[in-house]
């Protein structure tokens, strides 16, 4: 509701759920919330804890969410390696609730500088990112805590494939397609995670949160206008989000957002729809989809020689047309969701009409591709 994609919302929710008793799903731990440019949204934290039944006031309170501002990289390094380390050590020996979660909101914010991007600045960024990553890994392993780092997205540019001169080397674009972008819903691959592949190699799990154009009417008793507007005032966030909140409020429907596990060392890639309400983040039941990544990888390998032979004819996507990919990846589920959301605005045979349309289409798929790539 407040942030555009819901990442802060999820982080806040985690900082509350880590506190509850182990038999109810928590770790009876506390949270350290490091902010780079914003302040900890205490009111929102309070609101989630009050509106969520699973968060009893007896075991979950703001007392166990510690916060410190880290507005620069040197400060972050100092806090991580000294202040936080000592604090965690103390909490594990004396404290009632040991620190089990550290949140950094938002890491990318520290790397926004006016300097022009050159090879030198990129190298420097990689070094800093690696340094931060190594400290975080040490903290995570040594004290058995979960580290949640928030990151931003940048626009992804789909240049022609295989544009690199060095055929043996995978281009950045080719790699980031797998590790920095989501492709669970159409349009999701227009953005990719910032900070590059150096950072992608530091994280164990990457979760992409994005807005979709879809909305849903939620049946929720405490979803009244006065309360929603209260959040808006309290948050004092950017004007565009408040406008959006207003719009959301007016037609009483809630924006559906997408939660996409791009990679994880402990689970398969998966994606699902979720909404952000007063009680925090909740998934829409039964929307989880698992992309079939394996066959796609297989076809890529299979077609590699062919691609290099046909390079002079322009970029070729080994998987076929983009439409086929859409069908293959998200087609049935996506259509099913679409119809459920719009309450039967699209009749069942729309799908067949579209198929017919594309069958009668005279233009070859290569023509579409050339337009897309240019």
């Amino acid at each position: 509701m407040i942030s555009a994609s819901g990442k802060t919302q999820l982080a806040l929710q985690l900082s509350l759920f880590v506190q509850i008793a182990p038999d109810t799903g928590g770790l009876n731990g506390s949270c350290c919330y490091l902010t780079t440019s914003s302040k900890l949204p205490t009111q929102r934290l309070l609101q989630i804890s009050q509106n969520r039944k699973a968060l009893p006031p007896s075991s979950c309170s703001l007392d166990h969410v510690h916060t410190i501002a880290v507005p620069s990289i040197p400060l972050l390094l100092q806090v991580l390696s000294r202040t936080l380390k000592d604090f965690i050590q103390d909490s594990h020996t004396t404290g009632v609730k040991p620190v089990k979660l550290v949140v950094i909101d938002t890491l990318a914010e520290l790397f926004h500088d006016a300097e022009k991007t050159t090879t030198a600045t990129l190298v420097e960024r990689s070094q800093k990112v690696a340094e931060i990553g190594s400290i975080l890994h040490t903290l995570a392993a040594e004290y058995r805590i979960a580290i949640v780092v928030l990151n931003e997205v940048v626009d992804a540019f789909n240049r022609g494939r295989h544009c690199s001169d060095d055929k043996t080397d995978l281009s950045y674009n080719e790699q980031s397609r797998w590790f920095s972008r989501g492709d669970s819903v159409p349009g999701e691959d227009g953005k990719e995670a910032s900070l590059g592949l150096g950072w992608a190699n530091q994280v164990n799990a990457r979760i992409l949160l994005s807005r979709t154009g879809r909305r849903r009417y939620l049946v929720e008793p405490n979803m009244n206008r006065a309360k929603s507007q209260k959040i808006e005032v309290v948050s004092g966030q950017m004007s565009n989000t408040s406008v959006d909140l207003q719009a959301e409020d007016d037609d009483q429907s809630t924006l559906i957002r997408r939660f996409n596990v791009i990679f994880s060392s402990v689970s398969l890639p998966a994606s699902l729809d979720f909404t952000v309400t007063e009680s925090g983040i909740s998934a829409l039941q039964g929307t989880t989809t698992y992309p079939s990544a394996a066959p796609e990888l297989f076809t890529l390998e299979e077609h590699v020689p062919e691609v290099s032979q046909r390079q002079d004819k322009g970029p070729v996507r080994p998987q076929g047309t983009p439409l086929e990919i859409r069908d293959h990846d998200t087609g049935p589920e996506e259509l099913a969701q679409g119809s459920s959301v719009s309450d039967g605005v699209f009749p069942q045979d729309t799908e067949d009409e579209w198929d017919q349309y594309w069958e009668n289409d005279e233009i070859s798929s290569e023509a579409y591709l050339s337009v897309r790539d240019s």
């Binding site: 819901g6 890994h137 392993a141 949640v148 689970s267 989880t288």
Partner: protein
């Protein structure tokens, strides 16, 4: 085992000490203990993970002498029981809920400790 202090090795119980081939150990480690310590090598792990060249420079002993010290320690430590992976208690297995069962499922049970999780999204 690897965090054992080198100085502690010389005060091990008699039984284990016998396995150290006392003579070799005393010659190569005990007498070199102070030398190794001045070079910043205090534990078995440090001893094993330092390259002979580095150690030779730091501790001012010859690489051959250093290798002999490593061998002596390895022989001494070889008496310890081997551990099977199954016997080691799995660490980092703690996990907590995100508050939503469906999201937990997609994450492999919830947020696991010992890991760096990244949440990416628009501002």
């Amino acid at each position: 085992m690897t965090s054992i202090n080198l100085s502690a090795l010389s005060t091990l119980p008699a039984q284990q000490k016998a396995a150290f081939e006392r003579g070799t150990f005393l010659v190569h480690v005990s007498s070199k203990l102070t030398v190794l310590c001045t070079g910043g090598i205090h534990t078995v792990a440090q001893l094993l993970l330092t390259s002979p060249q580095d150690a030779a420079r730091k501790c001012r002993i010859s690489p051959i002498e250093f290798k002999a010290a490593i061998e002596a320690v390895c022989r001494g430590c070889g008496d310890f029981q081997l551990q099977y992976l199954d016997d080691i208690k799995s660490e980092g297995d703690e996990l907590f809920s995100t508050g939503d069962p469906e999201i937990d499922l997609a994450l492999g049970g919830g947020i696991r400790t010992g890991m760096i999780w990244e949440l990416v999204g628009e501002r």
